[in-house]
Amino acid sequence: MTTGGLPVPGRSARPPEHRVESTNLADILERVLDKGIVIAGDIRVNLLDIELLTIKIRLLVASVDKAREMGIDWWEHDPTLSSGQRDLNEENRRLRQRIGDLEAARNRELGNGSGAGAAPEQEPEPEPTRTRTARAREEQGERE
């Protein structure tokens, strides 16, 4: 494998002798709440009407720890729910701003020679490094 992932011994890819019932709840909910045939029945409180989002928010508000215990965690990955990811553009903007600030701070430091009095030309090749960083940043932005 190219990633250096550690081989971990255990229950991997072995024949499926276990009962499905033993599967964790998160796996079941991923399917019974998010998958399966969707038909509007006579009772209009099917999950489409409630909106899964509402359910998730309610679950989240009700008891995050309990939910985690049970393996219900989708909001962690739901950009509309997870405050950490609510607005990726905003997040990207802030990161860019922060990197800009850091670089500006560094340039100021290089410019005034800082307190140690070392000569600026001793800095280890800032330009190529910065280019690489910028590319990594862009890739990260695309990925997320």
Partner: protein, 248 residues
């Protein structure tokens, strides 16, 4: 008064699952032509709109509903092509169910054709997605601020590389498995804190696999595992992720 909870629509079969269903009831069948709906009679006061809305705020109740719903569908799907219904599909009476089956007979026919002699298998893949340890400390430049910035930059680069590798692994494994599956669907990876593993879940996918091709599918999985990823297989599932109306 009672309502009718819909578990699944199946192609034929005269035997109802033993259950128990979502209300502790014994599931029944509603037949309409070749289609058979697997249903349960449930109490209206527990399954009308208000009660269901309340239920969806109660994790314990959701768990019981989900497990019972799932359990009945597993039984129903054991022998015959079966399309699982999403949780909480409720009708007034059997006639309403039969009418729905008549109206959507062609759609159900297509779905059941697609899942015939196939089962769904969940695959989670974990890899070590943590950045490698810093290779070397940057030269002390006598400038703490600069050293800090360089360190931060190196950390960022390593993190980006680690994520890139993890994503590449997930893509490649998904591709490999999809080639031996009839259909594939990628779900969101579950949170790392839940698995209790050091490694990160990079792939949470599910595959519709020919029963006749399950050996080949498992062989592909073993190949993936042999390359160093940790693989977790769940199933067989009824074809939840591949039973969708309105698709051919």
């Amino acid at each position: 008064m009672s309502l009718v909870w819909l578990y699944a629509v199946r192609l034929g079969g005269a035997e109802a699952p033993a259950g128990p269903g979502v209300d502790g009831e014994a599931p029944r069948l509603v037949a309409e032509g070749p289609l058979v709906a697997v249903v349960g009679t449930v109490r209206e006061e527990e399954f009308d709109e208000a009660a269901l809305a309340r239920a969806m705020e109660d994790l314990g109740r959701i768990e019981r509903l989900a497990r019972a719903h799932h359990g009945v569908i597993v039984e129903a799907a054991a022998e015959l092509p079966t399309a699982p219904l999403r949780l909480a599909t409720v009708y007034r009476d059997d006639e309403a169910v039969a009418r729905m089956l008549r109206e959507r007979a062609a759609e159900f026919g297509a779905v059941l054709d697609r899942v015939r002699d196939r089962r769904e298998w969940g695959v989670k893949v974990y890899v070590d997605a943590k950045p490698e340890a810093p290779a070397e400390e940057p030269e002390p430049s006598g400038k703490p601020g600069t050293a800090y910035l360089l360190r931060r930059r190196a950390d960022r680069d390593r993190g980006a590389r680690a994520r890139e590798r993890a994503r590449a692994v997930a893509d490649r494994i998904d591709e490999t498995l999809a080639q031996v599956a009839a259909a594939a669907y990628r779900m969101k990876p579950q949170d790392a804190r839940l698995s209790g593993r050091e490694q990160e879940m990079v792939l949470n996918a599910t595959y519709l696999v020919d029963v006749a091709g399950e050996e080949e599918f498992r062989a592909a999985l073993s190949g993936v595992e042999a390359e160093g990823a940790t693989v977790e297989l769940t199933g067989p599932w009824p074809p939840f992720s591949f039973a969708t109306l309105g698709e051919s």
